[in-house]
Subunit: 342 residues, 4 copies
């Protein structure tokens, strides 16, 4: 039987990506779309690429009758998200795509995001949404917190290695390259085509990016001790795709074998043959993750390169994967589309 | 029951696009993939974005047992295509994506393509593959000739108008802007990223582009007299998407009404509200066509802008739409995916 | 002896382009830079690519001592420009890059720009800044109005042909393709990299673009009768470069000969051999214009393709060329740099 | 008095970039242009963006009368370069842009490039062309070997720090992001616009890139011991610009102070204020280098980000800077142009 879903925050990129994915999903029906600032508009006006779909018009959150909804996706900015989710029915299943329920410690949340958390009581209930590692908890969760797109990429690289104890914990570096859609529809000069295309730059250098909060929390928990990595994001002139180049100490073959074992049977994770290197071109628009492990000419060093689509597997695809689990549907439903190439 | 298909010429862009589309098609199974120059390779090596699929390895055409195949897509270059198709079993259903069976008159073929046609006897049997206008013939056809991507775009603009007699026939101009994937994987300096990105140019100016052969044939047939249009293609630094700006004389409102009536009920054709203008951004990766009609400040002039994805609706998507019809499947199967945005 | 110049509106793209060009000009010194909203900032903060230059800090217009200035460039938005220029010393030489003094008839100005002109009395004195056609007037002008970038491109295509009477006047079409920097640093969703790259669209279709005011004024004056052309701009995902595809009726060879004769001796205008087609790649970052003339398979039709860099020859380069003339310097000083390729 | 120069290998990107730079140089005249495969052609045919220049036609190397030449630039592929240079007059000043004379040890050359060196006797005479560090030797050199573009970028990051002994030598990582023009006009599928744009990937991962030969040679010489760094290049969908993210152990403030001191007075090197991060957008088309130093949240770690234009400062600009020195001209002549932005 078809499940009814609502999308709150349907006028941004992650909301649009959810609609794209769900438009060919066999078991979901989009019953409500909310975007307070654009309430009253048709989706064909906001996103003409969805023109062929028979979608409900945009409404405000207050206008949704949640008693008819099986699950709500919340694709709002952080801080707004917690304020909205706090007021939703307590029995409603929710997949939140914001940063608001990723960090378990309210102090850590405040440190990275600057504000007191407005729904502290719900943080205990939230399950961290990195499906491959929290699958069982997600199946029975009411509230799932989608991971950051950089945070997801880095964890696909490092979690199996930290857990297996095959790499050093004090010299990990993730040099990350991120597509611009991760910044959303923000109107900033450096995101204009004229200023972004044909060049690139690092940002938040030196340990300032908020996704470090997730890395610290998850890696320290896995290792049973504090783990702090170096993480440098770079903004690239492409629209979709994150590539993380991970530098670790350890035996490259052991690193490779650990990855192969960890991801055996995972429908969306592809570990490439040893020594091959993935490309973001090959995952654009898809829910797949490609991982390559290479040794270095310097003994005892390995390089792990991981790619995924920040809007899909890094955000809306992951959210749908989690929703499938929460609703008892096939985990891969609506998500098996191949990447767009070229 | 699942139908078995083969793709001949699976190492090019249109072949890869066919696999992408068919990978989520409920009624088709890819039983054979041929590419003579890369026979023996796995598709994951040729197109790593298809790595997650369980596909047959590449073979030569000769190695395919066509008795097990319900329909073959032929995604070869023109001239090669006719030589290969000539040798295939006469009972095999074929969708050809090349230019070889588009032109009914062998003399016209030779004029535009330079060589004598090697399978003249089969030209009579070939049905022109512009689905929306040859649907019934395609359903019962054995051999369907996919249209050129520019030719498709221009015909979506002009066919209903010529047929209805609402525009002048002697001053039609199509100014077309084409994505680079239309040129295929050809290794030419002007197709290198360094030389193509960040700029654009016209080419084949003055009536030299081969797709004019299709325009002449189809428009003259529709009008019952010779129709010759002006057509200028431009090469743009994007990978997918054709935009045709059509300049016609006629009453803009009548032009609009004609388009709305002609495409009513078509699952893939979206005529925008009068005065709105489409964008290639909204059809990238999809099988949809968006058409906008606008009046001009000069009375008696109308502008019709049409966009589609050259690799999908302009080539492989159209081919699959035709194959669905030929095999008695739902015409839209595998083709309802929304565009990728952003 | 070095001339001192000021740039009013130095925090936009055309202001930055002026500084880039003047930075290697042998006869000019940048004595003052104004940008009211960013007064007090260093240029290295606003445009880090100018970091190596020893430039004055940004000030407000009021803070400039114009008695020390030989010529001011005014690179402000239209409407603001007329209000600022009205208050400047009446003896100051000014090159205005906005639309405010391009249209001689205040009624026509109001029709296209929507507001009453605030400096009507100065419009009579303003000289239209298309250097190659108003060179003598510019030499002795106090106030020069830079042309629109599309308007410049179209006039390079059509002025010699209209003046020579070698083309029909009632069926001229300019299909124009424009780089995004022409829209300036405006913060709009459709100018974001994520929404602009990888696609394109027409806009202001049907005779709605403001540069038509210039076309009407200039072409009608040249022809001695009213001339109204069709003009469709398209927004392309590149940063610099306009390409105008002009469709005219007339003898192609005569059209070509007229162009060659008209531009003989012009330092910045390159008429290509007959039948060759120019590319925006070849003029990016330069003050050069490339023009190609081609005949059509339809007798009596010619296609004229013109390319230039909208920020340079279409705006700031043209402005500097005019300033050179107004200051008695070599017209080409600071402007002979070759395009950037690749 | 004007010096006469020749460019051997004038049909590639570095040859074209040399012509672009020299076209506004006050003291150089291009007396001969060679490109064996395109001998007989005009430069306007090979590079239409140079159409406005009065250049000699392309000839073969043999056709050049070197007695009339003061200095030759050799912009050929490696291996070819050594074979050509070996036959040139022994008194001719030469700036080689290839890899052939960068490595002093013929065994190391063979290890990285695979072939025996054909001009071993000239390697002793060649001076390494990183101007800022070999200025005096270059002034009196006859043969200067231009550095690799990645090698230049990495050395601007690390040389002052290794020389001053302020960083650890055993844990240096350079994560480099490179524009595609560095690959030249090679006709390869992965360099096509359709396959390169909208995505990116690492390559030569694990210590396989040839520029490591230069790093090893120069850093070990500076340190007085063997230094081996980790270096991972990434191919980005832009045409110009290298960004190197350097991870080093050391006190960030000391690292910064060392950089400021090392580059004081250098006309082309801009060290940004502490904590600021450079962008390749700001050096595109220019000979400038921007360097940013940042501390990390992990004590004792610093990140140094360096950007330059691979074709200009990383190749042809560096070559011209060296030629200026060798000919007794102003070192900065022809090189002070600001970057192209946007």
């Amino acid at each position: 039987m078809t499940k009814k879903i609502a999308i709150i925050g349907a006028s941004g990129y992650t909301g649009a990506e959810l609609i794209r994915l769900i438009s060919t999903h066999p078991g979901l029906e989009i019953a409500a779309l909310a975007a307070n600032s654009k309430a009253g508009m048709r989706m064909a006006q906001v996103f003409p690429f969805l023109r062929h779909l028979d979608l409900p018009d945009l409404v405000t959150v207050d206008q949704i009758d949640f008693s008819q909804i099986d699950l709500a996706f919340c694709a709002l900015p952080h801080k707004t998200s917690q304020e909205v989710i706090r007021e939703l029915p307590k029995s409603l299943k929710i997949v939140d795509l914001s940063a608001d329920f990723r960090l378990r410690d309210p102090e850590v949340y405040k440190q990275w995001y600057g504000n007191d958390h407005a729904a502290v009581e719900m943080q205990g209930e939230a399950v961290y949404g990195l499906t491959e590692f929290y699958r069982d908890e997600i199946k029975s969760a009411r509230l799932v917190a989608g991971t950051g797109c950089n945070a997801a990429t880095g964890q696909f690289t490092l979690r199996p290695l930290i857990e297996a104890g095959v790499i050093g914990l004090d010299d990990i570096i993730l040099d990350m390259k991120c597509a611009v859609s991760g910044a959303g529809r923000s109107l900033k000069e450096n995101l204009l085509h004229a200023e972004l295309s044909e060049g690139y730059n690092a940002y938040a250098v030196g340990g300032k990016h908020r996704h470090l909060g997730e890395f610290d929390q998850e890696f320290s928990k896995l290792a049973g001790r504090e783990v702090k990595i170096q993480f440098t994001p770079h903004l690239l002139p492409v629209n979709r795709g994150i590539l993380s180049t991970g530098y670790v100490s350890g035996d490259a073959q052991e690193v490779y074998d650990t990855m192969v074992a960890a991801y055996a049977g995972e429908p969306f994770i592809q570990v490439l043959p040893f020594g091959e290197v993935p490309s973001t071109h090959d995952v654009r628009g898809s829910n797949f993750v490609h991982i390559g492990v290479t040794g270095d000419r310097i003994a005892g060093r390995a390089i792990v390169v991981t790619v995924l689509d920040n809007l899909c597997k890094g955000s809306s695809g992951q959210a749908l994967q989690n929703a499938n689990l929460m609703l008892g549907l096939d985990e891969t439903a609506g998500l098996m589309g191949a990447a767009l190439f070229p």
